[in-house]
Every structure is written in C-alpha cells, then in structure tokens.
Symmetry: C2
Subunit: 135 residues, 2 copies
C-alpha cells in the first residue's frame, strides 16, 4: 500500500514516477518539465495522461499547484514539506527555500479587516544572490 493507493488512486507507473520526480526536485516544475522527466525515465505516456495525473494528485493533496512566473504555465511541487517560500535570484535563477513564514499574524489581521476566510498565500521574493550581485 503506497501513498497513491492510500489516497484512493490507482498505482500506475506514470503517477508513481511523477511523485518521485517532484519529490526529488528542489523547485516547482512545469507540466512540460515533468513530461520530459518521465521520458528520461523511459516512461512514455500521453500529455493528457500527465495533466490528468497532475489534476488527480492535486485533488488528493499529494502535490500542490502554483503559478509563480506570471505566464500561462502552471507549476507543481511535492506536498510533504509544509508551507514555504522561495527567494529567487533574478540573474542566475537560483532558488533558496525559505521555511520561515512571516505572514501568520498578518493574515489574521486581514481576516478581521476584510471578512474573508483566508486559506493561504503565495510569496516569492526576488533579488540578486551574493555571487551575482558583484557583477
């Protein structure tokens, strides 16, 4: 019994591999990157299978979906390590993971102000890393 079965999903090679690919990545991946990753593992599935798998894995909360870049592509990440943010170097695209979140208290305040029920947030911080900023 694996995490797929536990979530009520059938254990197919594509889905298992997608989970592994995302687990081993230190940054969110696009559907295309995931597809390419599957090909590298010699797993040849249709693109629609990838999308359907990603949708299923999101529904079951095994992975998360974000839209960090602002363009039309979505990105996916493994959902084990809890809440986190990214510090991205605008030049070399290096990504530092930030585990500490400064927004808890702020969200509480915002709920009172707006009467929303807040479910989450997305925060990405951009800048130049120590190596790039001296150039």
């Amino acid at each position: 019994m694996n995490s797929l079965n536990r979530s009520g999903l059938k254990n197919t090679k594509a889905r298992a591999a997608i989970l592994k690919i995302l687990q081993q990545s230190n940054r969110p991946l696009s559907a295309e990157e995931i597809y390419d990753g599957l090909v590298k593992c010699n797993i040849h599935v249709n693109a629609s299978t990838v999308y359907r798998a990603l949708t299923a894995l999101c529904d079951k909360k095994l992975i998360g979906k974000t839209n960090v870049t602002g363009d039309k592509k979505s990105f996916f990440e493994y959902n084990a390590k809890g809440h986190r943010h990214y510090l991205i170097c605008s030049e070399c695209k290096k990504i530092i993971t930030i585990e500490r979140c400064p927004l808890r208290a702020y969200e509480k305040m915002l709920e009172l102000e707006t009467n929303f029920t807040i479910s989450g947030h997305k925060l990405s911080i951009y800048g130049s890393c120590p190596e790039c900023k001296d150039k």
Copy 2:
C-alpha cells in the same frame, strides 16, 4: 499632449478609453472586462486591438499586468499607485487590492541572513470572500 503621446503612442479612442476604465477601477480588470467596458462606452473595437493596446500600455509602463488567480487570464491595472498586494477569492475570483505591505522589515532581515540584495517580491493571499464562504 496626453500621457499616450508622451509615451510615444498614438492617441486612439480605444487606448484613451482603456486608460480611463483602468483609472476608474478599484481592482485589476481582465482583458474581457476591459473589452466589455469599451462596449459600454460605445467603443467597438476588435479583441486583438484590446490585447495590442494592453501590451503597448504595459510596455510603456502606463499600466501593469498581473496573473494572480492561477487560471489562464491576466489582469491589468492603472499604474499610479505603487507597490501592492492582492487578496483573491478562490471561488469567484474577485480581487481586493491591499495597499499596505507587511514585508519591508522581513526583507531587511532576509538580506542580512542570506546576503542577497532583494529587489522585490510578489505576494498574493487566497481565501473565500464574505459572499462565497457561506455557500
């Protein structure tokens, strides 16, 4: 001489009206909403004209573009008021603009910790608005 001419753009009725519509909105609008706004002003232009106008206005920094809802639509806003964040209803996609930013102090701290030079950030907060959360 108006802001369009000043930016090296021709002053067409569609572009002037788009600017006015965005100026008068208290939230970012989608291309479709802008198109509908033009129709209400009796300005009938092709959708591609709207997209081309929005692209030109973005290039000239007269307006800004964001992609905050996670779906494929982009949103546009008048570019007078500086830094800001959004509170988005996950159900109806309504967007509330947040002018106050809680991250100044946090960024300073992060710079010391990581030795990055931080240039900016993107923060979007998600939840259910008062109207949707009771359903």
